[in-house]
């Protein structure tokens, strides 16, 4: 019997941030996934097995994450991991998952490293930060004939990947990379950095900052009159609230992400159905990351169904590798194969217009 699978139960684990600086991501994602699992369980589960989704809070701290893994692996004996958050935490987790061959599915980070060797037990659902930045820069350059790309980033794994992606994008577009500025998560004033970028002649600025910071940067640039500077965020800034900041502060802000905004499509059938289901289950309005959690859980359920009643890591991985479907909710196409463990490769570039995200490019 494979660990985490009994006759009537499958245990799925997650080491997530429910109280730390990324709680804004982890909390809704977890809720979204729960909506799916609760529904599936209420309908009798998958092949007669209910799904138990155990989420450990890491507060975005490494020691807590390690404790989470210890509990999930040694106590709950999970079958697979879903939606684990934080690049360093995931990387540390691989040390334990890999020897046991436990699948790590759809981690909540778009780092390239999520598909490091051995790749067999790792599945990501989205394009990487690297690709997002690269495609975004490329698009903006061709659209506006911009000349110089610059990057504002937090000196972390996440930040550096976006920096690299921006440089690659600049190269592809045949334009120059100007300069970069580094920041701290608690920084609140960006006038200095923006004047530096202005003086360097940057007209595309990619950002790897916190959500709140991204909003401030765009607002400050407006105040300073830097109208021909185009700001580009990645999936990490691609939140509905960013578009909804009052006073049109974020109007004209671009984001390259691997999915489409939820509320901009609230009238389409799949998002509408999701919003309704989510509201019924939780009593609140979903946000973008709730949608991601939901769709990742759907993917998990699909794979479990495909794997059949005889559920082992091998059968699960084999099932994952056959998945190929359009995810109407998120808006992208998911397909895995034995040598492609990245579900969706599309990058969507959206821009804020009148308080909502509008899709402008897809690649």
């Amino acid at each position: 019997q494979t660990q985490g699978v009994t006759d009537d139960e499958i245990v799925i684990g997650s080491v997530n941030d429910l109280s730390g600086i990324f709680a804004a991501v982890g909390v809704p994602a977890t809720k979204g996934a729960n909506v799916v699992f609760d529904r599936v369980n209420a309908a009798g589960g998958v092949h007669g097995r209910t799904i138990r989704f155990v989420v450990e809070d890491n507060g975005y701290q490494m020691p807590r994450a390690m404790q989470g893994y210890n509990k999930l692996l040694n106590r709950d004996k999970v079958f697979a991991m879903l939606q684990s958050l934080g690049t360093p935490m995931n990387l540390a987790g691989f040390k334990l998952l890999d020897p046991k061959g436990i699948p790590n599915v759809a981690p909540l980070t778009s780092s390239q490293k999520m598909l490091q060797e051995p790749v067999r037990n790792k599945f990501t659902s989205f394009s990487t930060y690297f690709d997002q930045a690269r495609v975004g820069v490329n698009y903006l350059a061709s659209e506006f004939g911009s000349q110089t790309v610059c990057t504002m980033y937090l000196p972390t794994d996440f930040g550096e990947e976006i920096l690299e992606g921006s440089k690659a994008g600049a190269e592809e577009a045949g334009i120059g990379f100007g300069t970069e500025t580094t920041h701290k998560p608690d920084e609140t004033d960006f006038v200095g950095s923006l004047s530096k970028l202005r003086d360097e002649g940057c007209d595309i600025v990619t950002m790897a900052l916190g959500v709140r910071q991204a909003i401030t940067v765009v607002g400050t640039a407006k105040k300073m009159g830097l109208t021909d500077m185009k700001f580009l965020g990645t999936s990490a800034s691609f939140l509905t609230v960013v578009a909804q900041v009052p006073g049109g502060v974020t109007d004209g802000f671009y984001a390259a992400a691997s999915w489409l905004d939820l509320w901009a499509r609230a009238d389409q059938p799949a998002p509408a159905a999701f919003i309704e289901e989510y509201k019924a289950a939780t009593g609140e309005d979903p946000v973008g990351f709730a949608m991601l959690g939901y769709s990742a859980a759907e993917m998990m359920v699909k794979a479990l169904e495909t794997a059949g009643p005889d559920l082992t890591h091998d059968s699960f991985i084999a099932a994952m590798e056959t998945l190929d479907y359009n995810d109407e909710l998120v808006g992208n196409h998911i397909s895995f194969s034995p040598d492609d463990h990245q579900g969706a490769d599309t990058v969507f570039v959206s821009v804020v217009e009148n308080g909502a995200w509008k899709l402008v490019h897809e690649e």
Partner: protein, 291 residues
């Protein structure tokens, strides 16, 4: 011109740090306790106001919500003291520090529970308005921050140095026993100062939320404000403002002129430097004990 712009927006930002730092200093000056939850109180103040005034919540008019939320924060500060902090009366300050850190956890949790974890902006009458001085731009919120901070610092300074109650608070912080011997109701005085700190946190929160946006993790800004208060010389109100301004001003200049990778270090490097040369901060409040 460029530098003038950096300076002025640095000042505005520094005032926010100064405002939070004022909250730290208030409590320290009156009780010698360090309230590590001050940043989280500020966050809470912002959310309370958002809850009262933003359209998706209660939607009260801003000028009505303002006094109500400051009142709520005041009561909250008082209750914190009354129900929790006061039980540690006379116990070591380290215990209070740890207590307030834990309190910060709880406040963050409660805020996340009520208002969610996504950043929110305060809908306010100043939003989007600008003030121009020659070629310099400053948001109206920034102007408001500067004015309010300076007035508040001045007012509190007067309160502590001019009034009997202010003097009693200073006395109570230096020697609780002696304060009691003088007939000062030390605990009640502390309750009052916590209420006041709550109000100041509320003001800081409102201005901060108007300037940018808040989420439950915003309270971590308190760490930087704490550093500002220490640079100023913990316990000095003008020092808190000065410390805040220094940190606020160094930031834009550092990111403008210092290479990436190093610029974000500047405020902390400055803190280290200040402390090495002035171990008790700029406006030192520490004395050598006479034996």
């Amino acid at each position: 011109m460029d530098n003038a712009q950096l300076l002025i927006s640095g000042l505005a930002n520094g005032c926010v740090y100064g405002l939070i730092a004022l909250g730290f200093v208030l409590i320290y000056k009156a009780t010698e306790a360090v309230n590590f939850a001050q940043g989280d109180l500020m966050m809470l103040g912002a959310f309370v106001t958002i809850g009262l005034t933003n359209a998706e919540y209660m939607g009260l008019p801003f000028w009505l919500a303002l006094p109500i939320s400051l009142g709520i924060m005041g009561v909250l500060g008082y209750l914190l003291d009354r129900l929790i902090i006061r039980r540690l009366f006379g116990e070591s300050q380290t215990a209070v520090v740890i207590l307030t850190i834990a309190l910060g956890f709880v406040i963050r949790f409660v805020a996340g529970l009520i208002w969610g974890h996504e950043p929110q902006t305060l809908q306010n009458p100043l939003a989007g308005k600008e003030a121009r001085f020659g070629g310099l731009v400053l948001g109206m919120e920034d102007v408001a921050v500067i004015v309010v901070t300076v007035l508040l610092t001045w007012g509190l300074y007067q309160f502590f140095s001019r009034t009997k109650l202010g003097l009693a608070m200073q006395g109570a912080s230096q020697n609780q026993l002696a304060a009691y011997y003088m007939g000062i109701p030390v605990k009640r005085v502390q309750g009052f100062i916590w209420a006041l700190a709550g109000v100041v946190a509320g003001i800081a929160g409102i201005l901060f939320a108007a300037k940018g946006s808040v989420d439950p993790a915003t309270g971590l800004l308190g760490i930087k404000a704490f550093a500002a208060a220490v640079i100023g010389g913990f316990g000095s109100l003008p020092g808190a403002l000065a410390g805040g301004l220094i940190v606020g001003v160094i930031e834009p200049f550092a990111s403008r002129y210092i290479a990436a990778g190093y610029s974000q270090i500047a405020p902390y490097a400055l803190l280290l430097a200040v402390l090495i040369f002035r171990p008790n901060g700029l406006f030192s409040q520490v004395r050598v004990k006479k034996v």
